[in-house]
Amino acid sequence: MKKIEAIIRSEKLEDLREALDAQGFGAMTITEVKGRGSQKGITLEWRVGEYRVEFIPKIKVELVVDDRAVDNVIGVITSVCSTGKIGDGKIFISPVEEVIRIRTKEKGPGAL
């Protein structure tokens, strides 16, 4: 099993949820985060002049999926969340040792 962590543009969340759901990946966790990558920061308005906001609000989406599903999920994320401009985000993949469903105490890929 793998954990897929995607940092995406906030306004892409709804489309992504729908697309993942359609592919059978209805379960996920989201967190509101702030971050920066190559986008660096944006300039906002103060009373006179401007100020820099160094960390841009984004959404972090996390899913844990079976190894065989990883490519499919990555494909969905990249196609839905890409605009071609700086700030589209990143995907990180890490191995997951175990998964347990709290209600039934099941373990393993069946608990996903």
Binding site: E11, E14, E45
Partner: protein
Amino acid sequence: MINTGDTAWVLISTALVILMTPAVGFFYGGMVRKKSILSTIMMCFAALFLISIQWVLIGYTLAFGPTKGGLIGGLNWLGLLGVGQAPNVDYAATIPALCFMMFQAAFAIVTPSLIVGAFVERIKFGAFLIFTGLWATFVYDPVAHWVWGVGGWLRAMGALDFAGGTVVHVTAGFSALAIALVIGKRIGYGKDNMEPSNIPLVVLGAVLLWFGWFGFNGGSALAANGLAVSAFVVTNTAAAAAALVWMLLSWLHRRPSVLGVATGAVVGLVAITPASGFVGPLSAIAIGGIASLISYYMIVLRMRFRIDESLDAFACHGMGGAWGAIATGIFANKAINPAGANGLLFGNPGLLWTQFVAVATTAAFAFVVTYALATLIDLIVGLRVTANEELVGLDISQHAESV
């Protein structure tokens, strides 16, 4: 002859009504998504300063100046020429003319801010400013003249509107529907989750509206007398009745919601507005309660037709105000206000017909002119932001600010 008690009451009422315009901004602002909350607040604040200026330059004279054929006021009072500290006995004999003018200003200011609910989250700020200035001049000022101006044709016909059911709420509500149809639905409407970002802010707005409404209706007595008290009492009663009914409706549906009772209260206040100086407390309960029923189902209907008049200004203000004006024709009682008239329940069916004519003409006029105005502005400068600006949110795209 200036009466200090009357003047004090109308002055504080004016302040209360002016407070209501930014209150609309909070009420609406808390209902939209976080990325557009500041732009919503900004638009109502802009209506405040824009129409404050438009009113003293030209609005007041168009609305209340000596009449031209019962349709519009003349330019006699352009720039407040001739409007001084002495009373204008045609309008209010015991308060300074400047005081009456300013009280009326507060109404002219809040009315366009109500329309903001129709086009949140997608209108271009510059287009909004142009629309608001023109709407005030070509819709609000004429209608105010018809209903409240000396010689105004609806007033001459006997139509009653104590504090603005037709002038404020019907015009705003029907105009909201018109511009919503022109500007189109928000991207993702019907599909995306569009949750309110700050419900306590909505309630704060509703609370300041309820508070201000005592000035809105009570001050319209233009004196601190028995009629002002009567209007004050029915205002509170109608709000309470309407909020209660909405609470029950939302409980029947699912759960009694905070947003629901806040909306219900506003709807009751809207409905009692035209009737506030002509009806008694028991009538107010009926008027408020029925208003909630009507507005609640108008919202259901709007959603079924998939019209994105986003914050239901039409359902609440347009239809709530229309009901209130009609209800005036039913419940008006000369025992409450001898300067008014009797309604259907007190033996005079004629008033009901007059009220209906007033509602129908102001609604149709507001809708048609707004539709034309919105279409024209859309053609010349474009009403809507680009898709990208809409997705990123108006706070950042229009104002370079963010919560």
